[in-house]
């Protein structure tokens, strides 16, 4: 597991882009649509995190 500022910075960029997509969708449609899209992104992040942890556990 390599944890460094570089890896965390990558997450800043990912979260910023995801946040921007929520803002754009909210402004174009309704806050509820933006909230649902945000929820989809959070679910995707959870699945991604679970797979990553599982993969690292198998590697070790």
């Amino acid at each position: 597991m390599k944890v460094s500022e570089e890896a965390v910075f990558r997450w800043v960029v990912i979260v910023a882009v995801a946040g921007a997509s929520v803002i754009v969708l909210t402004l174009l449609t309704r806050p509820l649509v933006g909230a649902l899209w945000g929820l989809v992104l959070v679910c995707w992040a959870c699945v991604h995190a679970y797979r990553w942890i599982d993969r690292k556990r198998r590697e070790s």
Binding site: V3, S4, V12, V15, I23, P31
Partner: protein
Amino acid sequence: MESATVSLGHGHAEEHHGPPEANQSSRIDRQTLGILLFIVSEVMLFGAFFASYFFLRVVVNPSSWPPHPYELPVAVAGVNTAILVSSSFTVHYALEAIRRGNRAGLKLGLLLTWMLGATFLFIQLNEYVHLGFSARDLSFGSIFYSLTGLHGAHVFVGLMLLTFASIRAWRGHFGPDAEDHLGVEVPGIYWHFVDIMWIIVFLTVYIL
């Protein structure tokens, strides 16, 4: 004394006394592990505040949010968000600079980050002054000031860490090797966490 020497005199007299040596992971240094565990506890703290926010907004469910006649300055907060996000880029630049041995870049990156963070905090305090409601006005006022204030306190702590890192940078500390710039890397990780948290707070409180 002599009797003690005699009682220990079975070949183990030179062995290590006191507590055993602390285990050191080969995968992650203890400073980075420490800040990561701290951030995990901070995520839980913010989680409690977000739970309160969503409880008030969804379960209590007032007819409009923010409740009439309160309004939030979304544009100002948006500019503030851009300022804080850009500060993550400058702290990353500072670290990349010291990895290449560029001390001037490190100082410049840290100084820019500090100034952007201080600007963010100043704008937020200015926003509080001009909002027109206080933490005592409805549950909305309480949770708004609690959530944004909690984050503001974290920005303040981040600025303190950056101040110490800057002082050390100006005194000639830090080097290109990984173990020689942990004093910048650890505050950098914390600063990125504060940045990510603000993006979530901004989306939740101002946009949705």
